[in-house]
């Protein structure tokens, strides 16, 4: 009896299933289409890039990329790499001990501390921008990449603490107690009991921090100039150019997005876990 029921529902699902799978493919294609269009345009000559109707089959060329790289983007890309990588390292160094204190052996009122961290994310960035600008002006830190590194660290630290805490919370207390009964010290416990559980968590936290730092524009635009300019600020140079060099704009956008695209594609599952603040088991 129950056997026939499953077969029937199975058949019904398969019938509608093809349509739903098709729909999924269509939606996915629609979402990726703008990026594909950007990629195709970046390989077109400028006169083909700005055609209506679109010149899809126009010959491909690297001119867009050539003129982008001729405009000197490397220092800003190097700045972005420096700021994103160093701030990510700092975030993890600060967040891991904090998350440990909030989960494995929670301090009193640990939920209040957690909410304090999250609440700093809700403090609008613009409300702190002016004092930071004045401070930088006063101390001569304007256009200095280290100021950005510190700010990006504060921007991502709360998220990392939340994520790492929920990963650490998955380490069973029993195992920790067992380790301490067996005479393992703190370092040893961290290395052989905690680390294996949280290494994927640290990786996903680092990935998210890297992406958000790499993408940040407001701080970078206000606080950097020529020396410490980041890649997104470099891109804003194209904002007013009314698409006159569309292929170049597309090439620039793609190149600047490439590190994030590669990192994101390579670590899709970690991205998911990270985005949900580690709440996904």
């Amino acid at each position: 009896m129950s056997n026939t029921v499953t077969i029937v529902t199975g058949k019904k699902r398969r019938g509608g299933g093809v349509a739903l799978s098709g729909l999924a493919w269509i939606v996915g294609t629609l979402f990726v289409l703008p990026v594909l269009w950007m990629a195709l345009t970046s390989f077109h000559a400028e006169e083909d890039a700005a055609k209506n109707p679109p010149a899809v089959a126009a010959p491909l060329t690297l001119d867009g990329y050539r003129s982008f790289f001729d405009s000197g983007p490397w220092p800003s890309i190097a700045n972005s790499l420096t700021a994103s990588i160093l701030s990510t390292v700092l975030v993890i160094l600060l967040a891991f001990p904090a998350a440990y204190a909030l989960s494995i052996k929670p301090v009193k009122k640990w939920t209040d501390v957690m909410f304090f961290f999250l609440s700093t994310k809700m403090l609008p960035v613009v409300a702190g921008l002016l004092p930071i600008y004045l401070f930088a002006q006063f101390t001569g830190l304007l256009d200095n990449i280290w100021l950005l590194i510190v700010l990006y660290t504060s921007m991502n630290l709360p998220i990392a603490v939340w994520m790492l805490r929920s990963f650490l919370a998955e380490v069973p207390v029993e195992i920790l107690e067992a380790a301490s009964v067996d005479g393992a010290g703190l370092i040893r416990t961290l290395r052989s009991v905690v680390a294996p559980v949280v290494t994927p968590g640290i990786a996903s936290a680092a990935l998210i921090c890297f992406i958000f730092s790499w993408n940040e524009l407001l701080f970078a635009r206000v606080l950097t100039g020529t020396v410490a300019q980041t890649a997104p600020v470099f891109l804003t140079g194209f904002v007013t150019s009314q698409g006159l060099f569309l292929a170049k704009v597309c090439a620039a956008s793609l190149v600047v997005s490439l590190p994030v695209l590669i990192a994101g594609f390579a670590a899709q599952d970690k991205l998911v876990q990270g985005l949900s603040l580690g709440a996904v088991k």
């Binding site: 739903l20 799978s21 999924a24 493919w25 939606v27 996915g28 979402f31 990726v32 703008p34 990026v35 890039a49 700005a50 109707p53 904090a98 929670p106 301090v107 939920t111 501390v113 961290f117 999250l118 609440s119 700093t120 994310k121 403090l123 609008p124 960035v125 613009v126 409300a127 702190g128 921008l129 930071i132 660290t153 630290l157 709360p158 603490v161 919370a169 207390v173 067992a178 993408n215 524009l217 407001l218 206000v222 891109l235 804003t236 904002v239 698409g243 569309l246 704009v249 956008s253 600047v256 997005s257 695209l261 899709q268 991205l271 998911v272 985005l275 949900s276 603040l277 709440a279 996904v280």
Partner: protein
């Protein structure tokens, strides 16, 4: 595992039954437990709270970098000026509209797409990768893409497609001029739907499948399963994605700055404050606007945080 079961009872006996863990903790000492937390906590207070104190002080001052001699105490003048200013009120309205529209639309779209991708079908991995792509494009780059390659009335893809379909007499709307706010909203929905979809998909895949199968065998319809089992399970994930999405979209600067440069009635609060301070150099007024934004955010966040606290209830610790 055997070590675990052996060690636990002996630990219990040593410390006395109910409070075994808490006595252990007390022995470690409060400070030893707090120490690892302090660097992060102090860092956050110094970098995020101190500047805000300065913002509050500045908000009560006359301070325009163009007129350095007129610096002084202003009382609540800045606040009065900000709150009676039509531009600021417009910016508040735009911020609310923009955030609500982007979060709601991308949440609903994200839910629908997550349900589509929750099923097994050929190429699911590829479709998921395609879906994630918008989220991974640098926001400024994405905004440039929408402004120049898609929305442009002369050679943008949208009008190009219209020409393709309807021929030379096809309508060629100027998307950004006609619907400036929706142009920004649409581009942001494209960027944020993948974010919502990813979190909700993870939520869907953490459902207890055996229970759902049992319900199906017991004759529950697909809709019933969705309404009474899937949706309640997803509640946490919906709340979390709405909260995180709001945090980021409220503060959006890149899209407004790039697509419309705040023109045509699309200036939101972050953009307006940026202009007041960066272009007009009116520090006092920018600070007052900042303080008002923070007060508004605190009010909204209080409600938001209450719902997120359900994330903690699930845990036994």
């Amino acid at each position: 595992m055997s070590v675990d079961t052996e060690a636990r009872p002996s630990g219990r006996h040593a410390a006395g039954p109910p409070g075994s863990q808490s006595t252990m903790l007390r022995k470690t000492g409060d400070w030893a437990r707090r120490a690892p937390l302090l660097p992060a906590l102090i860092f956050m207070i110094v970098v995020t709270q101190l500047p805000f104190v300065v913002t509050i002080i500045t908000s009560f001052m006359d301070w325009n970098a163009y007129y350095p001699d007129e610096r002084g105490f202003a009382g609540i003048d800045n606040f009065r000026r900000v709150l009676t200013d039509a531009n600021t009120r417009q910016a508040i309205l735009v911020t609310i509209l923009l955030t609500a529209a982007v979060v709601l639309i991308s949440l609903l779209l994200g839910l629908g797409i997550a349900l589509l991708l929750d099923r097994r079908f050929r190429g699911r991995g590829i479709v998921r990768t395609m879906m994630i792509t918008p989220f991974l494009v640098v926001p400024v780059a994405a905004a440039l893409l929408w402004k120049h390659a898609l929305y442009n009335p002369e050679y943008g893809l949208f009008n190009g497609l219209l020409t393709w379909i309807f021929g030379d007499n096809a309508p060629q709307p100027d998307w950004i001029s006609n619907q400036p706010l929706w142009s920004v909203i649409f581009a942001l929905v494209w960027q944020w739907t993948p974010f919502m979809m990813l979190i909700l998909l993870a939520g869907l895949q953490s459902r207890p499948l055996d229970v759902i199968e049992a319900a199906g065998i017991d004759g529950a319809s697909q809709w019933d399963i969705f309404r009474y089992m899937t949706l309640p399970h997803l509640r946490q994930y919906l709340e979390l994605s709405a909260l995180l999405g709001s945090i980021y979209v409220v503060q959006n600067f890149d899209a407004v700055f790039t697509i419309t440069s705040g023109g045509l009635g699309t200036a939101n609060l972050p953009y307006t404050i940026y202009q007041t301070f960066y272009t007009a150099h009116d520090y006092g007024r920018a600070s007052a606007a900042g303080v008002i934004v923070v007060i508004g955010t605190i009010i909204i966040a209080t409600f938001a945080l209450r719902s997120v606290s359900s994330l903690f209830k699930e845990e036994g610790r």
